[in-house]
């Protein structure tokens, strides 16, 4: 069983891409997949506690440069790279949740972060057209991670 967690606030523009992708994945009805949305990265530690296979989908605010607009990173063995600092408006980030879980020995055995480059995080805005155009690629990245095609850590292209 793989847990897919979409992180982000649907009222903060492209920050909502995580829950949006998670909702699309839920609608696919993939066997062996459970889906959960969350606004607050601080709740990730509880959400993935006891889970062995987890995929987190979140907006990436900066750092992709001219590289890919959707990245898939396996982070159970090494940290989320700095350039992939995820979007989100709160102090406790996805990277914080990953590293605190790692320090406490509570990290899932397989943990993949699918990051989607966002550009507009304004309050009250929906997903930008650019990010809507990246949804299919993000869903494919989730499917690949669910099916065990675990990516390796890498930098922006």
């Amino acid at each position: 069983m793989t847990l897919v967690i979409g992180v982000g606030n649907p009222d903060r523009g492209d920050d909502g891409v995580g829950p949006a992708v998670a909702a699309r994945v839920a609608a696919l009805g993939l066997s062996g997949v459970r889906v959960a949305p969350t606004v607050d990265p601080a709740r990730l530690i509880d959400a993935w506690d006891g889970e062995s296979d987890v995929v987190v989908v979140d907006a990436v605010r900066v750092g992709l440069g001219d590289g890919p607009r959707v990245v898939s990173l396996r982070v159970d063995e090494q940290p989320l790279p700095g350039w992939a600092a995820c979007g989100g408006t709160h102090a406790f980030s996805v990277a914080s949740a990953i590293e605190l879980s790692r320090a406490l020995g509570r990290l899932p055995e397989h943990l993949v972060v699918v990051g989607v480059a966002g550009c507009d995080f304004s309050t009250g805005h929906g997903l930008s057209s650019d990010v809507r155009g990246r949804m299919d690629a993000a869903i494919e990245s989730v499917r690949a991670a669910v099916h065990g095609a675990h990516p390796t850590q890498g930098g922006p292209g």
Binding site: D40, A42, T89, F92, E99, T123
Partner: protein, 435 residues
């Protein structure tokens, strides 16, 4: 980042102030060895939610305003309910009030545990963050996560889900928990109470700077218990007034450097809301177990050192756990999950104690319940002038510190307020300009 200016001047800036909920900017100007200006710069997006509420139905604010903040959605829901119910002339039954109190306890437990353990404790123990702290203080961090989880579970039990609870409506709830459901949750709360008491003991030993401040405090007060879901307003200057007279006593004014409005007590000036204010104005109505924890931690009748706010927050963790246990033990259900609330033309105010302090909602309704005007005054915007005043005094006494250390201590001073800038704004950077 440090820049050298011409002559002996310099600019010190930190592009991202860590461990604060949200983002913003702080600018400190120093000339001739004197701090001449301190500005908490708030680049608030258009007050989107206030505008969004206009024209919506009177039943919608609890769900809409819960989306303002992922950390304190219950506070927004409760203040919205109180305001709309007041506008419609409805007072909810005691059972509903108690259940709201229980739901609010869940939010306090989760929010305070997050701030005490994951955001603030590293300052006192000398770590850049909780990840590094966890390597040396694993059991302490696990204790904090256990507390946070308990709050989360309570939110799910009463609110339907932890993020943006879906069980709250104007007039009450969609569904009531059964007495058995609450009884089954008691062991979680018992553990949380024990963890909270241990939290007070742990943070009471933290070294804090000697930094007593002559604050004016403002909070809600109830004579029958610590304020959470309702109450009237009191201040340390002796004022006492119902929430619906808030505008008569508090003015909001725009300041040039911030898009968030600053709140001032008319005829008095800046004031402080939040744990220090609540404790100082309500310590006499704490539960006995919280009073004992406070006394053991060395807290007296008031606390005017913002660096001791972590101790007061821990005492409020004890209070929230004990109040939750009391509600669980007394819960026998209610005749109905909600009372009818019929719309009418009028204005209603709602005030509740969010984890970070008083949260005010005001709505003006048309006869059919359409919202004609909405005003939301979050705690962080009320505290902004005091945060600036703290920084002014704090930096002045520490100008001899190297930039890195001064910046670190300034960040800690800001974190004393647990500012939720996402409610008031976004983007918080720190700049100290020495010239």
């Amino acid at each position: 980042m440090t820049h050298k200016l011409t002559g002996d001047g310099r600019v010190l800036s930190v592009d991202t102030l860590a461990r604060v909920e949200g983002e913003g900017a702080m600018h400190v100007q120093v000339h001739g060895g004197e701090v001449t200006d301190v500005q908490l710069q708030i680049f608030e997006p258009p007050r989107f939610f206030e505008a969004f509420l206009r024209g919506r139905a009177y039943t919608e604010p609890p769900d809409i305003t819960a989306r303002i903040c992922g950390i304190c959605p219950v506070a927004y829901q409760m203040s919205a309910c109180n305001a709309i119910e007041q506008a419609c002339g409805v007072v909810v039954p005691e059972e509903i009030r108690q259940l709201r109190r229980l739901l609010y306890c869940g939010e306090w437990i989760e929010s305070h545990a997050l701030h005490v353990y994951l955001l603030h404790a590293p300052d006192f123990l000398g770590y850049p963050g909780v990840v590094e702290m966890a390597r040396d203080y694993r059991e302490l961090v696990e204790q904090g996560l256990r507390l946070k989880k308990a709050g989360n579970q309570l939110l799910e039990l009463i609110g339907g889900r932890a993020i943006h609870p879906v069980n709250v409506k104007i007039g009450g709830f969609y569904r009531l928990p059964t007495p058995a459901e609450l009884r089954d949750f008691r062991p979680v709360l018992e553990q949380a109470l024990a963890d909270s008491i241990a939290t007070v003991q742990a943070v009471a030993g933290f070294e804090t700077p000697d930094f007593e401040q002559p604050y004016t405090y403002l909070s809600l007060r109830r004579e029958d218990g610590y304020p959470l879901e309702s109450g009237s307003v009191v201040t340390s200057t002796g004022l006492a007034f119902p929430v619906e007279r808030f505008d008569e006593h508090v003015a909001e004014q725009h300041v040039e450097h911030s898009n968030a409005l600053h709140a001032w007590l008319r005829g008095s000036g800046p004031y402080v809301v939040g744990p220090l204010a609540r404790y100082s104005l309500n310590h006499d109505v704490l539960t006995d177990v919280a009073k004992e924890a406070a006394a053991a931690a060395g807290l007296g009748d008031t606390c005017r050192n913002p660096f001791r706010s972590i101790v007061v927050r821990a005492v409020e963790l004890v209070e929230a756990c004990q109040v939750a246990l009391q509600v669980v033990d007394s819960w026998r259900g209610a005749p109905a999950a909600a009372v009818p609330v019929e719309p009418r033309a009028g204005v209603g105010y709602g005030g509740t104690e969010a984890p970070r302090g008083l949260l005010i909602h005001r709505y003006r309704l048309a006869e059919d319940g359409t919202i004609e005007d909405a005003v939301i005054i979050p705690p962080t915007s009320q505290n902004q002038p005091s945060i600036e005043a703290d920084l002014r005094g704090f930096v002045q006494d520490r100008l001899d510190l190297p930039d890195d250390e001064l910046t670190r201590q300034c960040e800690q001073a800001i974190r004393n307020y647990d500012p939720c800038i996402s409610c008031a704004t976004h983007f918080l950077d720190l700049h100290v300009d020495r010239a």
